[in-house]
């Protein structure tokens, strides 16, 4: 069998040189992306950062609002909501930046349109053969408006897709809340919809953690600090309370396996899931104990039905060596995934008769 994930596994073994981390800043309209980016770029820690602004519409303004960045370091990428349209433009923009003479680009941040699902951009970064040789996906950061965020998530599928894709969530506009403690329902909703993301509140935490995440220098293939030792792959999912009605079919859950998984069986299971129900996967990330190499966990993650090439860590980030697979799905239940994984993975995890 050779499905999407299996093909990436084969590609994993191909050597590549150092790659520039490309992080994606997403968030719904008016949620404070540009403000946050300006604050981040004003820090000396992010010198050497280029910015690509992906705006909706013929005339973009956000790139002109990036006062903290040098004009040479900002590229406008218009009309970014269409998968096919954005691909070529993004490849061209990134290639132009990386080929630019002078000081080398150390990292790139792409600010998405507030109306765009980040999937097309992430797919391009993950799968374009030229880009994947030179760039790697850094982190996905999503701004959420503390005042309107819950409403946006209920009403706009784009906002949900942006949240689901996020590794980090930055809660904005806390100063506009009449009751500073009113973030409870929103925080609960965020934790339920994307339990794997770290939620930071702008008023309580400085930018230092985000700067540290973004301040990744050129990395060789191997352990990825954005998604390994420093990452927050897995946060225990609390008792699920009722979500807003429009989000009722969105589920997040964690599959845990105490026994190592056979690589082939696991890959075939993922191939099957992606081929059959890929459109129902909003986000998937996992830390996997592979039977063939139990001391070096495999990091896997996907946005919608497309996977990032898996990476292998040099060691486990904690004492917990169990396989943990975090899913955010729409209309695809835990039991379906759990029982099919049971079938596909266990068979190969024990010695076969000769």
């Amino acid at each position: 069998m050779s499905g999407h994930f299996s093909a990436l596994l084969q590609a994993q073994s191909q050597p590549s040189g150092p790659r520039v981390p490309v992080s994606v800043l997403t968030g719904f309209l008016g949620s404070g992306k540009t403000t946050l980016l300006n604050r981040l770029l004003s820090s000396a820690d992010l010198a050497g950062t280029a910015v690509i602004v992906n705006e909706f519409g013929e005339t973009g303004l956000d790139h002109e609002l990036l006062t903290a960045a040098s004009a040479d370091d900002v590229v406008l990428l218009p009309n970014g909501c269409l998968c096919c349209a954005v691909r070529g433009d993004l490849v061209k923009a990134l290639s132009t930046l990386l080929d630019r003479p002078g000081q080398a680009i150390e990292r790139v941040v792409i600010e998405t349109s507030g109306l765009a699902e980040p999937g097309p951009i992430l797919r391009t970064l993950m799968l374009d053969p030229l880009l994947s040789q030179r760039c790697r996906l850094g982190t996905v950061l999503c701004t959420v408006d503390a005042v309107l965020g819950l409403q946006s998530l209920e009403r706009h599928p784009e906002a949900l897709a942006q949240l689901a894709a996020a590794d980090e969530v930055w809660l904005t506009k806390l100063d506009l809340l009449v009751d500073p403690g009113a973030t409870g329902p929103l925080l609960q909703c965020l934790a339920q919809l994307n339990p794997a993301a770290r939620v930071r509140q702008a008023g309580r935490a400085g930018l230092a953690p985000l700067l540290e995440i973004l301040r990744q220098r050129l990395l060789s293939p191997g352990p990825d600090p954005a998604s390994s030792e420093q990452a927050h792959f897995y946060h225990p999912v609390g008792t699920p309370d009722e979500l807003p009605s429009h989000l009722a079919d969105v589920q997040s859950f964690v599959l845990v396996r105490h026994e190592p998984l056979d690589l082939e069986g696991f890959a075939q299971w993922l191939d099957l899931v992606v081929a059959s129900q890929g459109e129902k996967l909003l986000r998937f990330k996992g830390l996997v104990q592979i039977a063939q190499s139990p001391d070096t966990p495999m990091v896997v993650h996907a946005v919608q039905h497309l996977f990032h090439p898996p990476e292998t860590l040099s060691a486990w980030p904690s004492e917990d060596h169990r396989t943990r697979l975090v899913f955010i799905t729409r209309g695809l239940g835990r039991e379906v995934l759990e029982s099919t994984l049971d079938v596909m993975a266990r068979r190969r995890s024990r010695p076969r008769p000769v």
Partner: protein
């Protein structure tokens, strides 16, 4: 064996017969993916039986473990899941084995059906 179990087994025979001929197109759901390969759910029949066998041998039910051990020793017939379910539907399977195996097969096949897009996904 209870009539209810015979009916359950017969229903599972039908379900597996229907499922096993379904195809899964790998990588064809998006133009961006690798693709062009398809397989039938029948290809997973040995995986399902092997999963059942593994779980049975780990169970603390001597009759169930003994049955699966004997099948392992003798070698499973071709189309082993279909044969197992047909035996159950005809009352030829020992009662403890039937009690143990039918709920597991039902759960597994229902999940594969849902995974293939046949409902009960959520």
């Amino acid at each position: 064996m209870a009539e209810e179990q015979l009916m359950q087994a017969a229903r599972l025979v039908s379900l597996w017969s229907e499922l096993s001929i379904r195809h899964v197109a790998l990588g064809m759901s998006c133009g961006c993916g690798a693709g062009g390969i398809s397989l039938r759910l029948e290809d997973f029949e040995l995986d399902i039986v092997d999963y059942l066998e593994d779980a049975a041998l780990r169970s603390d039910l001597p009759a169930v473990a003994a049955y699966f051990r004997s099948q392992q020793t003798a070698g499973w017939p071709p189309s082993p899941l279909l044969v197992l379910l047909q035996q159950a539907s005809e009352g030829e399977l020992p009662a403890p084995v039937c009690d143990w195996v039918l709920p597991r097969v039902e759960k597994t096949l229902t999940s594969f059906k849902a995974l293939h897009g046949g409902g009960a996904g959520a």
